[in-house]
Structures are given as structure tokens and as C-alpha cells.
């Protein structure tokens, strides 16, 4: 610990603001964050934040007092049908089986729909719930009991109709690869309050990573330290976390002490501050080896908790990940990203049909996500934790007709004009519905919100102005919302 303190101290001597400014004027120009993280010193970055190379994840003050201190993002990869869950359309029921009016098809591009598809009514029965009277289908019996805690955004829309680009647009602000993900932006802007755990944790269930691959939690052009750390339920929760067989905690401690002792010698010889940084990183790694498994071990949770979430320790399930999400939130992890694959209900096969696979997905998530909300709430965490649920786009009011003919199973195609997401906690107005779609759920007709608006709002709730959170790259300041994004004021309490 002493060494660590010295590290910080040394750096402070090295890089006072005055010093930094003098360098600015000496013609070399402001220091790129990259060069800073390379290794040494304290530097004021382009956003006026004092950064410390030894602790790239150190908590930084937000632009203004935040509503939410952390976020849990439940991404339903493949995109669930809003028309079977939240966006109740009796009109569409009446049109069920009729040809889709050409006006809806002109100039539109779909992934699989060809020719003139038939309209498809809601496949499940709906009812209103709670004091807010929110419509929820019978697929989500648990969730329907907590609707008064959530805000529904029913006129979401995006620009991309394929999974990978749409997921990238949602999570990185751009449809192509190469940009930093929301979690990377957030940890770059705010750091994390618990450096013994990764600041940006990713939990995947449903057997596969999302279409866009690891890029949806990649750091793009931001330094790699800000990329999401995938915690796995099989094997090491974090890659290479566990010590080699036969080694124990004490021996690892000894070896790291030895390493740091010699590194300290090296520092005295070379005087390179990066050596001090490395020393502190090894200490941090040692702490992580302890705190990560502790956080990731759900076996010690009481039975009623397991019962409530429907968890089975040791299995890669959405339920387990929800419980993990709560444990990580308790431990001040900044950005907790869940992915649950399997919502791509085209109806091309049983597993992805609205009348089969879709039901199973609903069951997998309903109880667990409800439990997560309630569990956070009673612990007093929901007030400061933002929870977001949704897919990357919506699904068509028409039935998919791959290859132009009717298919055995019922399904809907990708749809970018309208979809529903919900948000809860962290400064979001509870029990409201924002936005409306037309009577068949094709277009948003009131209070539409683009995914960039969602991003702007999420950053705002975390205390950041989406136009101020920038990173200089290729000669221009980049930001999550690119040049777009409007705050959705009406859903902020």
C-alpha cells in the first residue's frame, strides 16, 4: 500500500496543472489521452478532467449531480415483438390475415418479407395492470405486477433493420464497427467507484454473443482499458482470473510482493513512472482476484432469493445474470450489461417462432427481470440504479412470408419504425407510458424517440451531457450520440 501511495504522490509532483499548461505552450500541444495512459502522470484531458495514469478507472465527477449512479442494461438480442408484449393493437387483430396495404410496403426494405405479406394480429391476450393501467400481455405475468415502477417508451425507432448494425447503432451510436460502446463511454467519462471490480461488466446468456459480436461492448477508438469485461458463468468469471492449479492465495500474494519489490528496484534505477503504474496495477489485479469471484458467487444467496429469481447456480441463464447484476450493482459496478439471445422471432423454425421459442424466452426473462426490479427496490438501490430493457429494433405488424409463401410457424420480420423499451429507477418517472404508435403499431405517431435520444437520456441520468462527453479522434471530437440525440425530458422525474 505504501508503494502505491508513493506512486500517486510521485505523479502529483510530476504533473501539476501548471506544468501541463507549460507543456501546452511549448509547442508540443495538449497530450493525447492515449499517450497519457501509456504510462505516467496526471494530465487534464480534453474534457477538463484531471486524469491519473495509475488509475485509468478512477471515479471522475459527472458534469452535474446524477440521478443514477449506475446502469443495468438488459438487452434482448434479436429483438422481441412489441406487439406480443406491450404495444396492444386491437385494430391489428381485426386486420389479421388480410393482405398488407401496399402503402406500408412502398420504399421500405425488410430483411425477409417478400411480395405482399399478410397482417398478423397480436398472438396473445392483453390486459391492463397496476394503477398506471399499462397494457401487458399474458406472457409476462410476473412483470405485469411491477408496471407501476417502470416507464414504457412505445415509439422508439432506429435506422437499421439488421441485427449487427442495429445493435451497433444502439450500443455504439453508429451502425458500423469501430466506435466505443455506451459502457466504454460511461466508464471513460465517470470511471468507477469500485476499482476492485471491472467498471464495465458484460453478462451473456442464451448460448451466444449478440450478432455484432464483442464489438457491442468494445472500446472502439477509446483506450482498451474501457472495453467491457465479459464475466462468464463457466470457467473463470474473468479471463485468467484464477491462479494456476496448486497455487493458493497466500503464495500468489507472496509472488506479487516479490514482483513489486523488484519493480520498485527497477523504478529506482530507471525512474520511469510507468513502473510505478505497473506496481499499482499488480496490486489491483490481486484485489480483483479476490473481489470478482466473491461478487460472482451466487451460491450463498438465501433460498427465497433463488426462488424469486428462479436461479440455478453454475448455469449460464438470464436469471443467474439478473441476480449477478444486483450483486454487482450493490458493489458499485458502473455499467452492467446483460445480453439474452434468442428473440429473433421470424417463425422460420420452431425455436424462433412466436408460438413456440418466443414463449420460452418470455418465461426465461419474466420472473428474473421482475425479481431484479423488486430486489433492487427493497434494498433502496433502484432509486440510484437505472434499469433499461429492450431489443435493437421492433417487429413488423405483418406476418413474415420468407420466400414469398406462408410459413409453418408464426413470425414477424425486423421492423425499424416502432418498438417498445422500458426503463426503471435511476430518476425515471415511474408508471408512465411515453409515445404512441398508430393503430396497427407500424409507425410512431406521438413522442417518437430515436435510439440516439435514448443514449442522450441515459447519459443525462448518469450526470453527463451527451454533447460534452467527447473524445478527440482523427482530428475531430467524437461522442456517443455522434451529431444527434435529444434528451427525452418527459420521462425524467
Amino acid at each position: 500500500m505504501k508503494i502505491y501511495k508513493e506512486a500517486i504522490h510521485k505523479k502529483f509532483e510530476l504533473e501539476t496543472r501548471r506544468h501541463f499548461l507549460r507543456k501546452c505552450t511549448s509547442g508540443i500541444g495538449a497530450l493525447a489521452l492515449g499517450s497519457l495512459l501509456g504510462g505516467c502522470g496526471k494530465v487534464i484531458d480534453q474534457m477538463g478532467q484531471m486524469r491519473d495514469a495509475a488509475r485509468p478507472m478512477k471515479a471522475l465527477p459527472p458534469h452535474f449531480a446524477p440521478k443514477a449512479k449506475r446502469i443495468i442494461y438488459l438487452h434482448m438480442a434479436g429483438s422481441p415483438s412489441q406487439l406480443e408484449l406491450f404495444d396492444y393493437k386491437p385494430e391489428l387483430q381485426k386486420l389479421d390475415g388480410l393482405d398488407c396495404p401496399p402503402s406500408l410496403l412502398e420504399g421500405k426494405r425488410f430483411a425477409f418479407i417478400q411480395g405482399v405479406p399478410k397482417m398478423l394480429g397480436p398472438q396473445y391476450s392483453f390486459a391492463q395492470h397496476g394503477q398506471s393501467g399499462a397494457w401487458v400481455s399474458d406472457r409476462l405475468p410476473h412483470f405485469s405486477k411491477v408496471v407501476d415502477d417502470v416507464a414504457f417508451l412505445k415509439a422508439m425507432h432506429t435506422d437499421e433493420f439488421n441485427h449487427a448494425p442495429a445493435q451497433l447503432l444502439l450500443h455504439t451510436g453508429g451502425p458500423r464497427l469501430g466506435r466505443p460502446s455506451m459502457g466504454s463511454w460511461v466508464t471513460y467519462g465517470l470511471g468507477t467507484e469500485n476499482e476492485n471490480l471491472p467498471g464495465f461488466v458484460v453478462l451473456v446468456s442464451g448460448g451466444t454473443t449478440p450478432s455484432a459480436g464483442k464489438s457491442v461492448w468494445g472500446s472502439g477508438f477509446l483506450p482498451t482499458v474501457y472495453q467491457g469485461v465479459q464475466c462468464r458463468s463457466k470457467g473463470d468469471p474473468v479471463l485468467y482470473l484464477s491462479d494456476p492449479e496448486g497455487m493458493n492465495r497466500n503464495l500468489r500474494k507472496k509472488s506479487i510482493e516479490a514482483i513489486n519489490k523488484i519493480n520498485q528496484e527497477t523504478y529506482e534505477e530507471f525512474g520511469d513512472p510507468e513502473t510505478l503504474t505497473r506496481i499499482s496495477q499488480y496490486e489491483m489485479a490481486f484485489k480483483m482476484q479476490m473481489s470478482v469471484p466473491e461478487a460472482m458467487d451466487i451460491s450463498k444467496e438465501p433460498d427465497y432469493i433463488h426462488q424469486m429469481y428462479g436461479t440455478e447456480p453454475g448455469k449460464a441463464s438470464f436469471a443467474n445474470n439478473c441476480l449477478l447484476a444486483r450483486r454487482l450493482a450493490e458493489r458499485d459496478v458502473r455499467f452492467i450489461q446483460l445480453y439474452h439471445w434468442g428473440w429473433d422471432s421470424h417463425g422460420a423454425g420452431k425455436a424462433e417462432a412466436l408460438d413456440h421459442g418466443f414463449k420460452d424466452r418470455c418465461q426465461e426473462v419474466d420472473q428474473a427481470m421482475t425479481a431484479l426490479l423488486q430486489d433492487l427496490k427493497v434494498r433502496g438501490l433502484l432509486d440510484e440504479t437505472l434499469v433499461v430493457w429492450g431489443g435493437e429494433f421492433g417487429r413488423t405488424p405483418m406476418r413474415e412470408n420468407r420466400g414469398g409463401q406462408e410459413m409453418v410457424f408464426v413470425g414477424r420480420d425486423h421492423h425499424l419504425e416502432a418498438f417498445t423499451i422500458w426503463m426503471a429507477g435511476g430518476g425515471v418517472k415511474p408508471g408512465i407510458t411515453y409515445g404512441e404508435t398508430d393503430e396497427i403499431g407500424y409507425y410512431g405517431v406521438k413522442d417518437r424517440a430515436h435510439v440516439h435520444d435514448l443514449q442522450a437520456t441515459i447519459l443525462h441520468l448518469l450526470g453527463m451531457d451527451h454533447e460534452k462527453l467527447t473524445y478527440q479522434f482523427q482530428g475531430r471530437p467524437f461522442r456517443l450520440t455522434d451529431v444527434h440525440g435529444h434528451l427525452i425530458k418527459d420521462i425524467i422525474s
Binding site: G27, G38, V204, K234, L239
Partner: protein, 770 residues
Amino acid sequence: MIAIPKYLTRFTVSLFTMTVFSCEMQQKVDFNAEIRPIINSKCISCHGGVKKSGGFSLLFRSEALAPTESGSPAILPGEPENSELIKRIQHHDPELRMPLDASPLSDKEIRLLTQWIEQGAEWEDHWAFVSPKPVSPPEPEDLWVQNAIDPFVLDQLQDNGLQPNPKADKATLLRRVSLDLTGIPPSPEQVRHFEEDTSGNAYEKVVDRLLASPQYGERWAAMWLDLARYADSKGYEADRHRDIWRYRDWVIEAFNQDMPFDQFTIEQLAGDLLPNSTREQQIATAFHRNTMTNDEGGTDDEEFRVAAVLDRVNTTWDVWQGVTFACVQCHSHPYDPFRHKEYYQFYAFFNQTEDSDKYPDEPPFMLVYQQEEDGQRKQIQAYLDSLTRSGETTRKSQRQIARKEEELKQLKAYKLPVMKELSVENSRKTHVFDRGNWLTHGEEVWANVPGSLPSMPADAPANRLGMAQWLVSEENPLTARVTVNRFWGQLFGKGFVETQEDFGSQGFKPTHPELLDYLALHFIHEQKWSVKKLLKMMVMSATYQQSSKVRPEVLDKDPYNYLLARGPRFRLTAEQLRDQALAVSGLLSTKMYGPSVMPPQPEGIWQVVYNGSRWVTSQGEDRYRRALYTYIRRTSPYPSMITFDGPSREFCLTRRINTNTPLQALVTLNDPVYLEAAQALAKHMREKGGEQLQEKIRYGYEKVLLKSPSSKTLQTLTALYHESQQHYQDSVMQAVKQTDNPSKAFEPELAGLTVVANAMMNLDSFIMKE
């Protein structure tokens, strides 16, 4: 008391200072140094390539002097008092004062702009867009100087009151130069040999040996593959496998043969267009077939063909021109003199190739073979040709031919995607994409290069080949500078221009402009684009050979070593780290070329939608191949590489940003690859190390760090050994007690040495280049 008199006095004071300013001596204003920074930081975002508020833009002089929406120009050369620009920047009304809604310009800035307009509002091209002028190095009046590089550096050091560091000790220097030139550390024997060689040119001999070794090509290919965004998969959702390793091998060979950089450039960009191009020249063109291909259902192939072509344009500019040309995709460049239209004129060069985001394989491709099979193939082909040429068609020869052709089929062929130009009749039209949207076409354009750079050589055709020749023409002000800067950056950790990816006006200024230009011209004319000669010159310089120890006074004056008062000291690349670990433990395979390999990787890393392919851990020496042969899948690259800042190869990356994180510590501590290395090293220590424990440790330490441990270090490591030896001793007891097969347990000695070896491979001195 009362406020008024106080501010009255201040008021008068400020008035006074202003008058003083205006009375100041007038000297010629330096546009690039004094005016451009003001424009770029305060004005250009609204009056530049993107926005032209009030119809006023400061991007080009012609635009700046043109009438604005108000009807009259905002700048009247020679008459600041009548120039709207000057009026507006000091307007008392915040609603009208520029910059709008921002703090007003400082008096100094206002004064500079005024003087500049007074002096005729002359524009100067940004330094990087002007061809380098011949410079001769300052007179070397110092014994320290080794070659032409050093005087430039020394000059600047002395200006800043600094002295260079003494030479690094031989061992350190040898490790440094070996890692730099071959990516692999020297063996203790080589170190000893170098230390014993007292001849004057000992170091030069070493450098020549390294440049000649085949590992040289591998090390520099590793760098080039980031630029080529080389990967073994196609990217996007399915991210299926792609057979393009043969291109990687071509790069290695090219570097090893020291192919001149201009040829290197032309063959990769347009090898297929060279008169009667060879197989190798066509293989080279796979450089631009590393773009991603989308296999996802329902996608419009044209959309992703366009995406690929755009990527080719951007990559070409990132790699050879160091200009953020991608900005121009949607609008004229915000800061640099490139017009929206010019982007698509350049796009036209690449818009004529056959490839079109096809699936499953990606035509056009050529069949390639692994080395030995390629040999056989050539033989058989030759034989068949001879037969057919001889024209004799006996039944015997018929059978012979049939059999041979059968053999030919047996050889495993790989489909290597390459570039191929469309035939003239189906050539494509190219349009400007309005706001970068590929669906909304603007005016039609024809292949050409931007007007702010020298035009194409007279004899150059208006196609990819001509474009490639233009890039490496002597007139091009950027290519040589960018290249020299890149290689310098690889050796010294930072380029002269730190923003290697941006030589434009928003990038950093070069720390040593004259030296950069000197090297660039030298590279073209004296060295005739020879990369080996260039690198040799750099590593032979005294600047490079300095010790990397940081003296406190230097740390204070120049913490980031911009002035080079010390040798480079920075973290090794992901590739170097892996190779080094395998090398010092004697595991590293020297096998070259061939399809990518799959060293051990944790379970369940590969989980990609709609794609069954699995990671099959390679056996035998393929487990221990150099890092650049490791299979790279874009959606889930090799974990330890990523942790050490390796890119995912989705796009061209011109500069890796080094980080220093806890996750890196976990890799070098616990990644099976590093553990295997530690164990192998431990075995050496036990067998060859000698009798005494201390000897064993010393032996290992010298193998790893190529210097002998200080007594303190030795102590620390010995203590660590005892700790762990004891620990494993106990666990053996445990094992014996509990289970009946103690074979499961570890041999305490070896285990102990392994822990020590692992510790040594985690030392800062091992992870850093010193």
C-alpha cells in the same frame, strides 16, 4: 467603501495596456504558427468545410475573400478596419460578437488577425501538404554524434538546455535492437558474444545480422497487418472464415527481401494492373480484400460493397497519407483543404473492381497452396506443360497426364480473394454520395486526386495503378514523411508527429520538423525507399543507442521524452510479449508461413451467431508459433492480444494506444501460455542451472532479462522460491495423506522454480523495452 473608483482605475489600466499593444512593433505574421490555430480552434467549426454560417468559410483563401451572404466579403486584405471579421470579433454586443456564445478572442488573437489582414491576409499551406525542402543537418560539433540524425536531436536538446543520456549498456542495447528489428530477444549467448566483441563495428555487425534474419520480416509484417486490417474472418454478424493467410506470407517475404517501399505500395494497391503481373503481384492485392464482407440474411450486397470501397479509400489515406480523409465522406473536410467531391473522385479509383460482397466465397479469388505443395504443383504443372508442348499423345502419356492431373487435384487449394478490375464495358459510374449516404447520388465524378496535393504524374493512367504511382511519386509531400514517421514511432514509441494518423492541421506539430523532412527525402533519394536502410540508419544513431534511464531533471523538463534526451522505454506489443515469453523459455517455434494457428484459448470465447466454427487448439509446434500466425477472428479476437491493446482488425489502425491495466497482469500471471513458458524455463533452470539454488535462479534470470540480478533481487527471488517450495511440499503431504496417487501432486522443486520463473516474466523490465 464604494466600488466605482476601484474599477475606474482598472478600466484606465486596461485601456492603457491596449494602447501599448497597438503601438507594438509590427512583424510578419506567421499564418501556420499564429493564425491557423486561431481559425481552427475558434472559427472553423462554423465557418469551414462542414458549416458555412453566413456563407463565410475560412477553409480556402478564395472562399474567405469571397462575398458572404451579406453581399460583401468579410475579409478585405489590407484594410482590417473595414473587414467585417475584425468588427465582429470585437463587437460589443454579445449577440453579434464572434465566436458566438463563446468567450471572445483574446486581445492578442484579435491583434494577430488584424495584423494578418493588414499584411494582405495571405494563406499558407499546412506544412504537411508542402513538399519537404532539402535540409542539411547542423554541423556535428559533438563526439556523441553517430550519424545525420543526431545533430538535429542534439541541436534541440541544447536549445532546451538538456544533454543526451550516455550509451545504454551492451546487453540492454542488444535486447532493445533485437526486439525492435526481429521482435525476439537475443539469447544469452548472443549477448555474451556481443559483449566480448570489442571491434569498432560490433554493433553494426549485430544490426546487419538482425536485418538479415527471417524473423525481421515477421516482426514488421506484424506491424503492417494492423494497417492492412488483416484477419482470418470476414467480419459482421456471421463472421465466417476467410483464407487470406497467403497475403500475410507475402508481406513477410516482401519485408525480408527488402522490397522497396514504392514497389511494396504499388503491388499491394494495384499489382493486378501491372503489365503481365506475376502471381505474387496479384497475391499482394489481397491487401484491399481484407475489407469485411456481410453474409447476413436480407442484406443488400451493394450496400456492403460500397462500405468496403469506402474502407479502401479511408485505409489508403490512413496508411500512406496520414490524413483523416474519412471526414470528407459526408462533407468537405472541416479543417483540411479537401472537398467533398474530391473524396468521390478518389473513390472512383477503387470503384472498378469485380468483388461485390458475395457469399459463400468472395470472387474474384486465386487458388494458392501451402509452400511445399506449391512446389509440387509447380513441378507437375511444368511436367504437364512439357508433355503437351512435346505434343506426343500416346496412350501412355494420356494415362500419365490423367494421373498427374489427379495428383494436382489432391493438393489442397485455398481461395485467396484478390483485386481484379472490371472489364471496360461493365465499368461502374461513380457519383458523389450526398451527405455520405450511398443511396442519394450527387453529380457524377471521374477518378482523380485532390487538388490541394500535386496532380498525378503525366504518364500515370487514371486508375488504381496510376493512383498508386502518384502516392509514391517524388512530388507527393506525405507518403515518405508518414512512412518514416511510422517506422520512427515503432522504434521510439512516438512518431515525430505523435498523431501518426493525422498529419493534418488538427494533428500534433512534428517535434523535429527538419529531421522528419531530412529522413523523408533521404528515404526517397539516397535510400531508394529501402526500409532496411532506413531502419539501420535509425538504430545506428546515437539517439537510439542512449540509455533509457530517466534523470530527474529531464523528467521534469520533458516527462514524455518528446525531445529524446533518453532512449526509448515503453511496453512491448502484444505480439512481442508472447514471442518473448516463448523465446526465453525455449518453446518458440521458428516455423514460418502457412494457415493461421490456434494456440490454447479458454473455453467458450467463440460464440458467434449462425456460425458453427470452433476453436480447435493446434497441436505440436503450432502451439508455439509466433503471435502473428495466431488466428484472428474479428468478432472475438485472441483474448490476450486484445488485453495488450491488439486491435480487432475490423478497420485500419495506424497507432495502438498502450494501456497498463490489471487485466494485463492477470494474463502474464495466469494465461496457460505464460505458465507453460514459465514451467519450461523452470525445467531449464533445474537441468542447466547448476547445483546451487542461487545459480539456478541467476541462470533463469539472465535467460529472461539478459542481465545478472542485483543481490537484492536475487534475495527476493530466493525467498519466493523457498515460500513456494515449502507450499508445494506441504501440498504433496496433503496429497499423500488424502489420495493414494501422489503423482497428481507437483514436484515441489519444479513447482517452486516455476513460480519464480513466472514472477521473472512479470517484471517491469521484461514487459518493457529498455
